[in-house]
């Protein structure tokens, strides 16, 4: 049976992709950011996940205002890096896992999550930057990827509670897949940042760290944070953190923290990164 072995959360600031692509990732500015990912890169080499379910948001790249899906799952064979206006990032194509993705999509719909199915799309920095952060610059990405795109741009975006519940449903879907697969789930975006208006540049170290503490906790209180709190405390784009709750919801009640990293600033944004593994009895018993 397939199983979710770990959850990873990470910011996906486009400038991090630029730093990797231009070899600036160890300079004075980016060095402290990337140093916080060294542990994870080594750990991923040991873990060798077969598939990553990668929760991210599109930034007006694959989706414009023509269609705005709240939750969309990529069931395609492969995805190219999107041209976001300055040419596509020079990264390998992202290889999908259509069998698993369709299984998850079907299971989620039966579980009353009305998913949008995507067979063809390009993937932007929201998806490729986390891959670079975790895997560096390989010839080919070392695992398959099931993209899960969430609308966090046009309001209302899904509630934290709904995101958590989707994570729980994803776990049930994965655990009912017969193939023996090591699956990780990643939540990306955040942490505090605001990219618009006179309040742009807002960062909130204290709140971000409280959020990381809540992810580590043996309870699900974090799912009940209302949108207005994210907006007031972490800036208009801090709302991306609801995507981390899909990851956290998929890990069960109890988790162990394997790694945690926080850094201010990267461009307009506070960088957050955490690696968790499921630790509740059900997960332990299944091993």
């Amino acid at each position: 049976m397939a199983r979710i072995t770990a959850g990873v959360a990470s910011s996906h600031v486009p400038l991090l992709g630029v730093a990797v692509d231009q070899g600036k990732d160890r300079d004075d500015y980016f060095g402290p950011i990337f140093a916080g990912y060294d542990w994870t890169r080594e750990w991923e080499k040991q873990e060798k996940p077969d598939v990553v379910i990668l929760v991210y948001n599109d930034h007006a790249s694959a989706f414009d205002m023509t269609i705005v899906p709240t939750f969309a799952i990529g069931c395609g064979e492969r995805y190219k890096s999107a041209d976001e206006g300055w040419g596509p990032r020079p990264v390998p194509d992202v290889i999908g896992d259509p069998d698993l993705a369709w299984h998850i999509a079907q299971s989620l719909i039966l579980d009353e999550f009305d998913m949008t199915i995507i067979n063809e799309m390009d993937v932007d920095h929201g998806l490729t930057v986390p891959l670079s952060m975790m895997f560096g610059q390989p010839e080919a990405w070392p695992c398959k990827v099931v993209p899960l795109a969430v609308n966090v741009v046009t309001y209302p975006v899904p509630s934290g509670n709904r995101c958590w519940a989707l994570g729980e449903a994803i776990r049930r879907a994965v655990e009912s897949y017969p193939e023996d697969l090591n699956v990780q789930i990643w939540g990306t975006g955040g942490m505090s940042h605001q990219l618009q208006g006179p309040r742009a540049g807002l960062l909130n170290r204290e709140w971000d760290n409280k959020f990381l503490d809540m992810l580590e906790a043996d309870n699900d209180e974090v799912r009940h944070i209302p949108h207005i709190e994210y907006l007031r405390e972490t800036g208009s784009e801090g709302i991306e953190m609801v995507m981390w709750l899909i990851m956290r919801g998929a890990l069960g009640k109890k988790v162990n923290t394997l790694h945690r990293h926080y850094h201010i600033p990267c461009s307009n944004t506070a960088i957050g990164h955490i690696v968790l593994e499921p630790a509740d009895e059900q997960a332990v018993a299944a091993e």
């Binding site: 486009p14 400038l15 930034h59 007006a60 790249s61 414009d64 205002m65 023509t66 041209d83 976001e84 206006g85 300055w86 741009v153 046009t154 309001y155 209302p156 509630s159 505090s192 605001q194 990219l195 618009q196 208006g197 006179p198 309040r199 742009a200 540049g201 807002l202 960062l203 909130n204 170290r205 709140w207 209302p226 949108h227 207005i228 907006l231 007031r232 405390e233 208009s236 201010i264 600033p265 461009s267 307009n268 506070a270």
Partner: protein
Amino acid sequence: MSKKPTQNIHEYLAEFEDIPGTRVYTAARARKGYHINQFAMSLMKAENRERFKADEKAYLDEWDISDEGKEALLARDYNRLLDLGGNVYFLAKLFSTDGLSFAEAVSTMTEYTFPEYREMMLNGGRSPEGNRSIKGGY
């Protein structure tokens, strides 16, 4: 029997207007700014960028955008564009066409010059203190 909504949409939306210096991209803004945002998306294609750069006004005249919208686009007045329903991820296609980084474009919406803005970010960013609520002043 119908279920009561988890949250009242009117109360939900009203709270957004209480955040200082912020335009949350609501459905109302998305409708208002639809053509501004779709125009910006068109700049994802190299040939459209070339045509826009060659004659910005003529390119904008092909779109169903108000005169005020066109003026704000030509002036790169991003705060006004937000008021007109523009969204920063769409407007990013315009400032990328201009060769501006995200941070530089974002800084034009604040009270700071770009070097001052960068300095603020290096020093920990804008504090949430006093920036959370207009009515509450906290």
